[in-house]
Amino acid sequence: MNLKRMWAVLVSRNYEFLRDRAAFGWNFLFPFLIVAGFALVFGNDNRAQFKVGVFPVAPETAVESLELPDRFKETLYLDLIYFDSFDQALDRLSHHKIDILIKNSSRPWQYWISDTSPKGYVAEKIFRESTVPLEAFDELLRKEAITTVQIRYIDWLFPGILGMNMMFSALYGVGFVIVRYRKNGVLKRLKATPVTALEYLTAQMLSRVFLILFTVVIVWVGCDLIFDFHTQGSVFDAVVVFAMGGIALSSMGLLIAARGTSEEVANGLINFISWPMMFLSEVWFSLEGAPGWIQTIAGFLPLTRMLSAIREILNDGATLAQVGPDLLFLGVVSLACLLAASWLFSWTK
């Protein structure tokens, strides 16, 4: 490996990226837009969990004046939706737009649920429990409350958004570009120089990792100013994990682009790899409770390991040593993909 040649390729690739203002701008704007969008939709962690239809009730009626059990009216995380007529309310229930429908009247309270709705099932339990005096549970139950550090959805989601952006940047920014260079003869010209495949691919990978980290830091600082993230662990440790994840994902991009001149095939391969990672790597939601075989598959995906390590650091305060197995996994994937890509690499069509 000749470092001077590798550095020359790396610098020229960085120039290209930094001067391509459209691509450069989009790399920063996209994560901002995604995070802002999700913060808008899911940002309120006190949002209602169940939608309760009540009829007949005129709009603007105060909750206190409803003829429902007092304890039900005081229950948190319920969104009470008023309807003038039963038919209108029943239509909403049958379309799962509300979880339970209750008649606003004195005892016995009458209610309707859809027997195919899991949320309706739980809402019914809540409603029935609220009709029993609280003292009735005293001999049956004992409550032990704990105090935890609140992890907001946005704190949990943000590393996932950054990770997803990194994944697409690494796979498309490396894989797609190399296939295009092979197709239009840029790689053929480089083959005529002393640059080796390993030097070229290492430069491409490091250039992408540099740009990914640059983007991550800028987007992080920008989003932190807006959302004021709560972090428990070292931000530096998280950046180290991002770097390792970037190397692993870029190396996968190199392997995809090791041969071939068809951008369509490269696009298909990248989709084949990126979509499962997007859904199985806990970018948007946790896989807790998913079937074991899905969790096993997810455990072999680099994005899963990177996000798991970053969330452990940021949300739970873990150290680099504690996420060592994830870092080792990412290192092994990086080395295996880089060596395989160098071995398979073709400069020409």
Binding site: R5, A8, A192, P194
Partner: protein, 240 residues
Amino acid sequence: MLLEIKGLVKRYKDVTAVDGISFSIKEGSCFGLLGQNGAGKTTTVEMIEDIITPTEGTILFKGKPRDRDFREKIGIQFQHTELLAFLTVNDTLRTFARFYKNPLPVEEVSRLCLLDSIGRQMNDRISGGQKQRLLLGLALINDPDLLFLDEPSTGLDPLARQHMWKIIRGVKEQGKSIVLTTHSMEEAQILCDDIIIMDKGRIIAQGSPGTLIEQHCHDDGEPRNLETVFLNLTGRHLRA
């Protein structure tokens, strides 16, 4: 001999692109490969350049098989090369200079190829002629012993072509060797010391321009030049 090529063959499945050709190139000479489209010129040159692997045959550079150092000693101007869009002309020259152990100063190559005035322009903003000059500059940046030029003057206006030939002559005067692939018989006649004419993957004629004209031009009033030689040898009808 600088280059010795013996029994060179390239097959692609059922097609034999180059069919057992042998020739040698003297140090300090300009060697031309002529032939119709699809005659096997570019395949031959790319095998010598080590861009594609021969099916059979031997290629010796200065009496030895080519090694990793071979690429330090050659310069190549391909016919079709895209350049990195967001690099300037100077960036591109500097990048390529860093690939070699003993490159020429970028300023010297820039001056030689008349690139000074467009040094800060992006590669995708320069004209066809300027791009040809930049590609020649990249081929010269490592001060090569052997320069491969594939259709160097294609698409150039007469003035730009004259300038390109002047540069090539200058390179030759420095004692460097040149392998020139061209469709321009005028270019070959002006620049080349030795020529091979290829047809269907084989060599059908070989010699200096003067010798070829002497051997293959008839005394029936036809012009005595390489174009006549070429047409007499390869036929006057377009092939499918």
